[in-house]
Amino acid sequence: MVHPDKSMLLAYTRRQSLGEAESYIRQHIELCEECALLCHEYEQVSAGLQDTLEYWKRTSVYSPLVERVLEKIENPDAVQLAHRKRQVDRQRQNATSSTKRQSLNWTRLLSTGVVILLIITVFTSFMLHESLFQPNNNKQANPGSTKVPSPLRTASPTPTLTPQVTGTAEVTGGTIATPVAQSMTLNICKVSAYSFTLCGSHLQPGDVVEVTVNIRGKGALPQHVVMVSKDGRLTVMWYVNICSINRVNVHVHSRKTSLDTSQVLSVPVRNCSISMDQ
């Protein structure tokens, strides 16, 4: 047997319009003792509620509003003032009635403030953290790195190269620089005793860049102006006795975007004795 919804039973006992469901409920109640009992209980509860509300109606006396309303229509400002005063009085009375409760309330207010502050702090630190870990994470740079004058971005990555055995071996694969300026990477990709090659990737294809290398104690090497390949790469080579060099400052200036990038790159480990012989 499918019982009608309780709200339907209540509505039925309250003689509310139920449409077609009304006759079904009537028939159902005649057959179903459980629903009949529930209806009876609803009638009792309704009677109790109505009694109470009737009692309140009889005993509640409200001061006449007609004059107040008409007065407000005629002189809204004065009545508004009185209205406001009543509100303030009520609040004051409420406030003075329980100072202990008020102090508790202040505690609650304080704790709410602390929670809000905490949320703001967490949010701000999260945002800061996010911005710190954007491409420019120079703060993790090698402490011994030399800063280039007026660099926009500097990085001193740690080389992770596996040196080749032969003297003129080309050392490749070393990730020297961390990403700078979006995802641009620079690294010394080939080293021999008398030369090194700088490789760049993720540059803007077709861009023309000026690449300058400074060596501490030796000054600047000749500047190269190169075009970035279609796949965003560049390769520049300098002939120099590399054996006495540990680090180089590389400065890249884009002619297209006028963006400057500076990095301190470590020269990978190389076998100078063999290469010098060649």
Partner: protein
């Protein structure tokens, strides 16, 4: 009847307005009193309701159902007051239960279980969701049908039916308990 009254009210007829306030003042203030749980606030809200009626009646349509419309204004005022009150209580500017909320007429002598039942009704009413309480009060206290309540609260009669039933369930629980207690 409503049509003529509304016409007179639109014309700002003071007699029509006075008779409207006199007719509705007690039931409307009583309804607001039960809804917000404060005698003085109920009076202020009733006053604001009548003022709103006076101001806004010109903008209403011809087929206006006057009483449900006035109760809608009153309910909106009541619900807005309750929302602000809840916010103040949450922030801590106001205590959860003020002594003003305690009704003096609950102290009228009578059979103890009756007084107790009234207090329980008061307490249960204050714990209901404001809209559920509005549905219950309009139906049991002001004899509105579910359809009329739907007009007041801008919801379907089915929604009203569910809300009234939900509220009555709360009372059913304590009426059940109190009847068991009286048997013992």
């Amino acid at each position: 009847m409503d049509v003529q009254v509304v016409e007179n009210l639109r014309a700002k007829d003071p007699v029509a307005f006075r008779s409207l306030v006199e007719r509705l003042q007690q039931p409307l203030t009583g309804y607001l009193h039960r809804l917000v749980g404060d005698h003085e606030v109920a009076l202020d809200l009733a006053q604001d309701t009548f003022l709103q009626v006076y101001k806004e009646i010109e903008k209403t349509s011809q087929d206006l159902l006057l009483d449900p419309w006035i109760y809608r204004i009153a309910t909106n005022f009541g619900l807005r007051y309750l929302n602000r009150k809840r916010l103040r209580q949450f922030i801590g500017f106001e205590s959860a239960s003020s002594p003003l909320d305690f009704d003096i007429h609950l102290m009228v002598p009578g059979p103890e279980h009756t007084v107790e039942a009234r207090m329980l009704v008061e307490e249960t009413l204050s714990k209901l969701k404001p809209k559920d309480a509005a549905c219950l009060l309009l139906h049991y206290g002001n004899d509105f049908t579910y359809e009329e309540i739907g007009h007041v609260l801008e919801m379907t009669p089915e929604a009203v039916r569910k809300r009234v039933a939900r509220s009555v369930e709360k009372f059913r629980a304590f009426y059940g308990q109190s009847s068991q207690a009286s048997k013992q």
